[in-house]
Amino acid sequence: MELFKHTIHALHERLTKKEISAVELAKSVIARTDAVEPQIRSYITETREQALAQAAAVDAKITRGEVIAPLAGIPGALKDNICTKGIKTTCASKILANFIPPYDATVVDRLAAQNAVLTGKANCDEFAMGGSTENSGFFVTHNPWDTARVPGGSSGGSASSVAAGQAIWALGSDTGGSIRQPAAYCGNVGLKPTYGRVSRYGLVAYASSLDQIGPITRDVTDSALVLNAIAGYDAKDSTSINAEAPDYTKALVQDVKGLKIGLPKEYFGAGIQPEVAAAIKWAVDQLTAMGAEVKEVSLPHTEYALPAYYLIAPAEASSNLARFDGVGFGHRALGSDIIDMYKKTRSEGFGPEVKRRIMLGTYALSSGYYDAYYLKALQVRTLVKQDFDKAFDEVDILITPTAPTTAFKIGELSDPLAMYLQDVCTIPINLAGLPGISIPCGFVAGLPVGMQIIGKPLAEATIIQAAYAFEQANDYHTRFAPLGEV
């Protein structure tokens, strides 16, 4: 099997046994990218020279007999909204087309501490706003399982790079499902940690009370390894949780005996593709056969989560994106005075979805509408969170589909509202700040289906263990995308 198809843990073993070199591995991934990038288009920026230099440094460590970290020498991609010192970080927006951060995000520092190899910056929906990567200001990314379809979004390039062998792992960011949904569409494992578990320092903000960085990988073991590298308290993020992160690989145990699983009935009804719901129920039956206990639960405010999100997230975005004014960094248009300069800069720099959300958020926060829209949405957020609190009094984890359908065709969802509905299964988890993981649990017409496992706050280990038990009893994680049209 070619090197670019392997997992982090398999490659780490081969590196430490000196069966392969890190440079050889980096070259395999680069050659693969040469071969498939014209079809897939995962990357906004590739960092080949740097990757080869990082790999050579790891080889030198191995030669010297030093112990290397689990991610050392393993090539991975970063979503292009994570700041990298000296490397262009665009958020897939024309307004940041030439932005070169003067500092690294905390997650980048932590990956560097493990000597991970960076392949490049992955395409996404502009400022992480979207569910298909079609809102990128630069180009559309294709799904490696069917290149006529979207990879999902907003971390579409992160997911496609892992599925197509252009990276072994990737980081994405998840505000309403942007790690889990593309992972589901591309047959990967995608984990959104508890809000505050991973530092947001250096992640370009979309909706600050919802954003989290997390891994997209080929299997659950790799997910635990990347989470180990990036999780933990960071003084530079005032919303970072000050609690020690455990070793998540300790949760890689194939045992779900006595685990209480809740199936929220609201996630299996209208709007969910029947084949997707069937695949999830089949997977849950397997977990039951392994000794887990299953019961139906209710999250009665589920239908209100999506409309609440589409007020809260745009409201936060309208404030966060005020900084793009053509003064300190980014694109600047010429204007007759400063207000004219602001307006022209922002109108030229932002794409249509970003403008739509800025306007929606500005409206929801504006005088006369604040109580009716923004405050109301925050109250509904309380009710959504209380639903989860109650459910978790009875069960350990919740299982749902990650997305209501498999990957849709490029151009298929042209109406903004229809696109928003794709996030219906993932958004409530962000509103409540919970951890969630999506793992492949079946195929419908050749396209991967994602199962979402949701845990209590900071219970990443519990969802990793359940995911691992299912994964190891099946072979979905070993399948490789065909890179053609279905």
Partner: protein, 96 residues
Amino acid sequence: MKITRQDVENVALLSRLEMTAEELEAYSGQLNAILEYVDVLNKLDTTGIEPTAHVLQLKNVMRPDEVKPSLPQELALSNAPEAEDGYFKVPKVMEG
């Protein structure tokens, strides 16, 4: 119609966005569709429910007021569209 074209013009101004007539028309329609959809929230009686702006119990994080290393001036200005004498340069703000 929840939001008039005049509202959209006002919101565009507040958002510092410039819109053509066609864009104003398109955004009016789309924003109305979204606002009609979010209207479902009004089915819920939320009297007395505390708002959740944030899931964590946020408190101010304090640190000693000590001078620490920070971005050097040239790096801080390195992405500026226009800079002069160590300052960001912008078009004129005041008349006269």
